[in-house]
């Protein structure tokens, strides 16, 4: 390892040779076929997008390429030679690098230390920090990956941490870089930066496997798209030969309505009334600064804004998870300003939290228990303090069928579900109950197209049942698709409100940008 120095990463674009070839790869887990007869090729300097719904087998496939799973059949060929990858170490030694969805970084160490960890340059048997920093700086400049080698990782924004992961792979001589849903954790701005980096790396000869279910990224960044469905390759296209609707149809196996059609809203009485709300963020800084907002029964109000303008704090304050410093929150003319999360929930407020793994569910719990996470002690699910597990199981089985949560059974731990199915689990829990108000924060983050459509329909259905719906999202597309009105949040208050029909991305973007306009 120690002799593999940076920059063997094919810095010079060479002939467009085939770096990686997969033939008939198959992987089963028990009776579940995760991949069947998958074949594909990756050429030098090419961006290959691996597109598929949650659970289509993308992650299983790349885990085999990175030596984390062993194939049950088929072969992997690197530079024309059949190889057996027994471990990630094998894969790295053969020039394969992978950036996982969850970063593998040591938060308290510097960028340079993280990059060289396990392959440190040494001087007289000690780690040569200066050389490590210099090498990291050189790499980051060469590939256009702006990051300070001396910065401590935990202080860096997510986008920068991801660049550290990429540099780490390049430092180990990666010619093939696998990015597992890299944009799932990024803001739209960071995603744009990332796509720039991907293009730059490809221009330098690195072959890139980009796993995603975001069609826009595929259209922008990929040279070729391989679409997986139910573990099989169902199509291979060039973005130029298709469009987003075509890709979506290929992925889901039916045509998908990217814009859901819904009846015009017929707003009724005000349900949520917020006046002069003030809320602090985790560090005690004022994040919501005198915000006024009203949501009526039977309408969907979208909240747009550059992330970090108080959206998260707003949602948490409405739902009682965060203390309200000033102003008041009215629910159907009742002051709920001082109430806690459970009391507000019991008044009929559903909350899809922004961070599903942190707040939305308990990973080690069964699907059934997570489906009653905030109503486990309600009369139907418990009596005299004793839980009625049979009732919980029946309820859970009904919900996973109704909301199409893909899980072997309701006893499986929630952590064994894919991200999109976890989200559907939370949506099922929150929207299966009669609510007067639905607060949905980033309801489709990291969710595939088919599920996005499903979740959007559920939100509209909640509206049509007469609920007031507040959707907070970083995806303008999403807000434009579902909202009847769009409020733009900037510096902790509402900067402008648009009627859904008159809203355009450009107009909203202008208001959003006013906050960061420098």
């Amino acid at each position: 390892m120690s002799e593999s120095r940076p920059g063997e990463a094919g810095a010079v674009p060479q002939a467009r040779g085939v770096l990686l070839e997969v033939r008939g790869l198959t992987k089963r887990f028990g009776s579940v076929v995760a991949n069947e007869d998958v074949s594909l090729q990756l050429r030098r300097g090419e961006v290959l997008a691996l597109l598929g719904e949650n659970g289509a087998g993308k992650t299983t496939l790349v885990k085999m390429l990175f030596g984390l799973h062993r194939p049950d059949g088929g072969e992997i060929r690197l530079a024309g030679e059949a190889v057996r990858l027994r471990s990630p170490r094998d894969a790295i030694a053969r020039g394969i690098g992978m950036v996982h969805q969850h970063f593998q970084l040591v938060p308290v160490m510097t960028v340079a230390e993280n990059v060289v960890l396990g392959a440190e340059p040494t001087r007289r048997r000690f780690v040569d920090r200066r050389r490590a920093a210099a090498e990291v700086r050189e790499l980051s400049e060469r590939f256009g990956l702006a990051v300070d080698p001396d910065a401590v990782v935990e202080d860096l924004p997510i986008g920068a941490q991801q660049r550290v992961e990429i540099i780490k792979a390049l430092y180990r001589g990666a010619e093939i870089l696998i990015l597992d849903e890299p944009s799932a954790v990024l803001t739209p701005e960071e995603t744009d930066e990332l796509l720039g980096v991907v293009a730059e790396l490809a221009a330098r000869g690195v072959g890139i496997v980009l796993i995603t279910h975001k069609l826009r990224e595929v259209m922008e960044a990929a040279d070729r798209v391989v679409v997986l469905r139910d573990g099989r390759v169902v199509g291979e296209v060039a973005p130029a030969d298709t469009d987003e609707a075509g890709l979506a149809a290929l992925m889901v196996g039916r045509s998908v309505v990217l814009r859901i059609d819904k009846q015009p809203a017929s707003p009724g009485e005000p349900v949520l009334g917020i006046q002069g709300l003030e809320v602090d963020d985790d560090r005690g800084r004022r994040a919501v600064t005198g915000l006024d907002l009203e949501v009526r029964a039977g309408e969907i109000v979208g909240v747009a804004g550059v992330q970090g303008n108080g959206q998260r704090e707003l949602a948490e304050a409405i739902c009682g998870m965060r203390p309200r410093i000033g102003g008041c929150v009215l629910l159907q003319d009742r002051d709920i300003t001082g109430l806690g999360a459970r009391a507000i929930h019991d008044l009929g407020v559903a909350h899809i939290p922004e961070d599903r793994d942190k707040h939305g569910l308990v990973g080690s719990y069964s699907v059934a228990d997570d489906l009653v996470l905030n109503r486990f002690d309600e009369p139907g699910f418990a009596r005299w303090g004793r839980r009625d597990r049979a009732a919980v199981q029946r309820w859970a089985e009904q919900l996973i069928a109704e909301f199409d949560v893909r899980t072997p059974d309701v006893h499986a731990p929630a952590d064994s579900l894919s991200g999109g199915n976890k989200q559907k689990l939370i949506v099922a829990r929150e929207l299966s109950r009669a609510s007067v108000l639905v607060v949905a924060a980033q309801p489709t983050r990291g969710v595939d197209v088919g599920s996005i459509e499903f979740i959007h329909r559920q939100l509209v259905a909640a509206r049509d049942r007469g609920a007031a719906v507040l959707v907070i999202s970083a995806e303008l597309e999403e807000l434009l698709a579902v909202s009847d009105r769009i409020a733009v949040m900037r510096d902790g208050r509402i900067a402008a409100t648009f009627a859904g029909a008159s809203a355009t991305p450009e107009a909203i973007g202008l208001v959003m940008g006013g906050a960061t306009g420098h």
């Binding site: 998870m321 929930h345 707040h359 569910l361 996470l373 905030n374 002690d377 303090g385």
Partner: protein, 354 residues
Amino acid sequence: MHLDRLRPALLPVVAVVVAMVIGALVVLAAGASPVAAATAIWVAAFSGTGAIAATLEKATPLVFAGLAVIVGVRAGLFNIGAQGQLLLGAITAAYAGYRLAGLPRAVHLPLCLAVGIVCGALPALLAGVLRATRGVHEVIVTIMLNTILVNLTDWLAGGPWMEQGQPVSRTPAIVGSARMDRVAGVPVGFLLAVAMAFGVWFVLDRTTFGFRLATVGANRNAAHYAGISVAGATVAAMTLSGALAGLGGAVESLGVVGRFEPGFNAGLGFDGITIALLARVSPRAVIPAAVLIGALRASSTQLQARARLAPEIVDVVLALALLLVAAPIILRWLLRLRPGSSPTEVHLTRGWGS
């Protein structure tokens, strides 16, 4: 399906067996006979009703200590202070046991147990409140409280509560109306311990209260989201944990020692941690785990006499068993588990798909 469910339960059993085999090799290396050692353990712990009763008596406080640790762990808390709480419960129950002479048995015995429960709960409550309101880590508080309580009980037993006219520091003997006896050769305290293990299992695994504790223990952010009071669950779990430890101490004083005497209870609280881990944090599994450790402890004099072995060999075997339970991967490697159930396979099937 049934086999799959059974396999995790088998792990501690296999771990103990493997540990005993390694222990036998250690005995051999020490120049003694493993057969003699095994015989000594068997004779001391299980031959005849008297030996079995002695083993169960040894196991009784261990069950309580193990349950105390488990209640904490379920709520994400490490009550390392079970030892101190147990001591305080033991000495206060003993005090009530000799001081309140003259009460009828039906009042006296339950009262003494209640005193032990309350006094065990108090220091744990303090640790819980500090954790919930000030964020002071319960491990640090309970370690410090251990030191305080060990010395406090030593001082009480050698000072104000000391038996008059005796050279050793210990409290006077508990009067008959507070003593826990044997029913058909089985110590009453052990029956109470078994009932408590099932009670704790029911509370933790079947009630909404247990669900609250477990949710806080597994993901306190999600608990907060679900409107569960994290502070409330923390205080409740610590208090319950301390109460169980205190009850264990009371049962030890009232049923086994017959008074409080420093040294008799040394290490019981820490054995509770061992038992909780050996039982894989499952309340009902505490019973066999405690009986096992009780048997090994009960046999230490016999080990010395018959096999000429230092009683520390028992700790070696226990430590090995614990290591094997805590690090199942070692066991899997030792046993060369068939490929279908290799650790990587088990682990990674949880994350397929994207």
